[in-house]
Each structure stands twice: as C-alpha cells, then as structure tokens.
C-alpha cells in the first residue's frame, strides 16, 4: 500500500472509530433504559466492562507478540508488544477508575479486596512494571528481550493469580456484592454494551496501530543514527 493510500486508510479508520464512539455514547447515555435497582449509575457499566475487555485483548497481543519475539527476534513483534502493553494499561486504568466511581454510591466503599478487583490491580501493577523496565533499560537488542521474557512471566502468572486469589477470597468472608451487572441484560442494554464494546475495541486497535508504527519508526531512526555515526567516522 502506498504512503498516500495508507494515510487515507488511517483517516477512514479514525473517522469510523470516532463515529463508533459517538454512537456508543448515545446508546450508553440515552438509548439504553435506566436500570431498575441501581438507577442511572449503572450506565458506567457501558464503559467499565468494554474497557476491561479491550485491555485483556491488548495484553493478549502483548503476550503473543512477546513469545513471537523470543522465537524470531522480529522488530515488528517487539513493536506490537510495547503497543499492546501501553494501550492495555490505558484501558485497564479506565476500568480501574470507573469501578470505584461506580462502587462508592452503590456499595458504600471505594474498594474491596475481592477476587476480581485484586487480580485487576495486580495486572495493572505488572504491566506498569513492564513499561518501567522498558523505560529504564537502554535501547538496543537487550531491552526487547528482557521485556519479552517479563511478559512470559506475566502470561504464566495471571492464570495462577486467578486461581489463587479466587480461592483466597472464597476462604475468607467475602464482602457483600450485588449480583454482577452482567446478570440478565435487557435487549436494549445489550445493544448499548455491544456498541460500546465495538467502539472501545476499535479505539484500542487504532491506538495500538499508531503506537506500533511509532515503535517501528523509532527503530528506523535509531538504525539510521547508527549508520550516520559510522559514516561520519569514515
């Protein structure tokens, strides 16, 4: 695809994403009916859940890309890995902030150490440490490898976390939770959720694409800098 065609494609994708976001916003605020028990505040759910889902998709891509990098040392793999981690962390942050905003009026507390919240917080810290590792290690051939290895540790750790924390929470008196917001959705609510999901996934995809291209451009810059340094010495 030529450069001009690529930018047209990108502009189109960006426009489509914006459209999806606006449609989703309409459905979340107006299109979806007000929930019977919780009231208006239940609408936070239309951002809270798709954000988590998008984060998981992004992290999944990070894991896959990291494994691919360790196998093939492909710079494209590394670019995808960092894109997945950053975008995933952004969406997980949305999830972690919308949660307490919803929880405070509904549960009376900002936070509980139940299985799902603890796991989500643990994941946030993990991928934040991944980005910090990348920030603190010198760019070169080592940084992508270290980051990819760390990502593999997360991939092994998260399922175990899920099991262990789940068990931990069933052993101790769990805080009283209302039935999860995904228990029994009215059809128009489901529509709103799906629009939001589509919008968030589109945005995640767009942001990852941008970050991915940027990472490759950064690699290119580093390479040409090195070339120039050698040329200057000659």
């Amino acid at each position: 695809m030529s450069g001009a065609a690529k930018s047209r494609w990108f502009a189109g994708a960006a426009a489509a994403t914006l459209a999806l976001l606006l449609i989703a916003l309409y459905w979340a605020l107006i299109g979806a009916p007000t929930e019977a028990t919780m009231g208006t505040i239940q609408r936070i759910f239309y951002y809270h859940v798709p954000a988590a889902f998008s984060a998981w998709v992004a992290f999944g891509l990070n894991a896959a890309a990291s494994a691919w990098y360790l196998a093939r040392r492909s710079p494209k793999a590394d670019a995808l890995a960092v894109a997945g981690a950053e975008v995933g962390l952004a969406f997980l942050s949305v999830n972690l902030i919308s949660g307490p905003i919803w929880a405070h009026p509904v549960w009376g507390v900002w936070w509980v150490w139940d299985a799902r919240l603890t796991l989500t917080l643990a994941m946030w810290v993990m991928y934040a440490s991944y980005l910090i590792l990348r920030q603190l290690t010198p760019p070169g051939s080592l940084q992508p490898r270290l980051a990819a290895a760390l990502s593999m540790f997360f991939a092994a750790d998260i399922p175990i976390d899920y099991m262990a924390i789940r068990w931990w929470r069933t052993q101790h008196p769990a805080p009283v939770l209302f039935g999860g917001p995904d228990s029994g959705l009215a059809p128009r609510m489901l529509v709103a959720l799906l629009w939001s999901l589509a919008a968030f996934l589109a945005l995640a995809g767009l942001l990852m694409w941008m970050r991915y291209r940027q990472a490759l451009a950064q690699d290119e810059l580093t390479r040409r800098r090195q070339q120039q340094l050698l040329a200057q010495e000659a």
């Binding site: 810290v125 440490s129 490898r145 997360f154 175990i160 099991m163 262990a164 931990w168 052993q171």
Partner: protein, 224 residues
C-alpha cells in the same frame, strides 16, 4: 565442564564471599528483625496477633531481607571481570543462573533459621502450631522468592535504578506465591485445615516458574 559443576562453583564462590564478609549477613538479619519489630506496632500489640496477622508479618520481613540479598547477589558482579569472563564463556546461562539461585536460596534459609524462632518468641506462637508444616512452607516459599528473585535481579542488573526495579518486577509476579506462603503459615499456626491446598499451589508455582526461568535464562544473562 558439566553444568552442575558450573552452578556449584558459582554458588560456592558467592557463599564464600558472604561468609568472609559477615557484615552482610548480620545486616540482613538485623534488617529483617527490625522490619518485624516496626510492623508489629502497626497491630497495636494485640496478644492475639499471631492468629490474625502473624504469618503475614513473618513473610513481609523475609521479603524485605530477600530483596536486599538478591540485589547484592548481582550488584557485586558488575565490577568483577571474572563475571564478564563467565558470561563470555560457553558456559550455559542456566548453570550460572542456577548457581546464583542456589547461593541466594541458602542465604535465605540461613536467615529464616534465625527469624522463625525469633518470630515464634516475639509473637507468642501457639505451642500447638504445626512447625513441621511451617518448615516446609518456609522451604517452598524461600525457593519461590529465590528463583524469581534471582531471575529478576539478573534482569534489573542491566537497568538504571536497579534497586528500585527489582521489587517492582518481583513482587507482582510473586503475588500467588506470597498469598500461598502467608495462608499456609497462618493455617499451620492456627491449626486450620487449608494449609495443604496452599502448599500444593506453592509447589506448583515453584515448578512452573523455576522451569520458566531456566528456559528464559539466555534472555537475562548477556555480556555487554
């Protein structure tokens, strides 16, 4: 040279250095005791502390001490030409890492030999506590901390702010292990029944992450 020989040599060298300059051992031990004392104030000196938060307190102290031990394990190497020589040699990375792990593991066990009895005294651990079970928990828990800790210490050795990065990398990944250690210790102290389940999680964790660290050893040990 067979891998296990390399590992043993690396471990022996590390332990010899630690034994010679005993200051580090004493400092770590004192540090861990201090952590236990300070944290005990957080629980208002309640006599029933052992049953409620005791297990957690012991492992927090051990975690802090472990971070110090692990950081030392690699910070020394940067200056040593023998280390670089080892990395340039065809010695398999796993062997070098295994040696590092072994020395850290032994160090931690030594520390625990001091801390666990002290803990039992300071926090009035019940005589009915299952000390055999606690010993196994300490063994498995130290293995988990030493294994992942060695790997992430090697990883953060390449970075700026090494001392900051190590806990940042180690602690999130160790969450299920720490959970299991604390819960098992609690159960053994209180005489509850869940301990076996937690020990199995801990053992499984050790198998998975030791294998993972061994498989990915080449990623973290590179001469620059």
């Amino acid at each position: 040279m067979p891998s296990w020989r390399i590992a043993a040599a690396v471990a022996a060298r590390d332990l010899r250095i630690e034994a010679r300059t005993r200051e580090a051992l004493l400092a770590m031990g004192f540090y861990a005791v201090l952590v236990m004392v300070i944290f005990s104030f957080a629980f208002a000196g309640d006599a029933s502390l052992t049953g409620l938060a005791g297990g957690g307190l012991l492992w927090v102290a051990l975690l802090f001490a472990a971070l110090v031990a692990l950081d030392r394990s690699f910070s020394r190497e940067a200056a040593e030409s023998s280390w670089t020589g080892l990395l340039i040699s065809p010695a398999p990375r796993v062997a070098v890492l295994a040696g590092k792990f072994a020395s850290s593991f032994v160090l931690l066990l030594g520390l625990e030999a001091l801390l666990v009895p002290l803990f039992a005294v300071l926090f009035n651990a019940p005589r009915s506590a299952n000390w055999g079970g606690i010993a196994v928990t300490v063994l498995l828990g130290s293995w988990a901390l030493a294994a992942n800790g060695t790997y992430f210490a090697a990883m953060s050795a390449h970075a700026r702010q090494r001392g900051l990065l190590l806990p940042l990398l180690l602690l999130p990944v160790s969450i299920p292990a720490v959970l299991a250690m604390v819960e098992a210790t609690q159960a053994y102290l209180a005489g509850g029944g869940m301990a076996n389940y937690w020990l199995r999680i801990l053992a499984g964790y050790n198998v998975i992450f030791t294998a993972l660290g061994a498989m990915l050893a080449d990623a973290v040990l590179e001469a620059e």
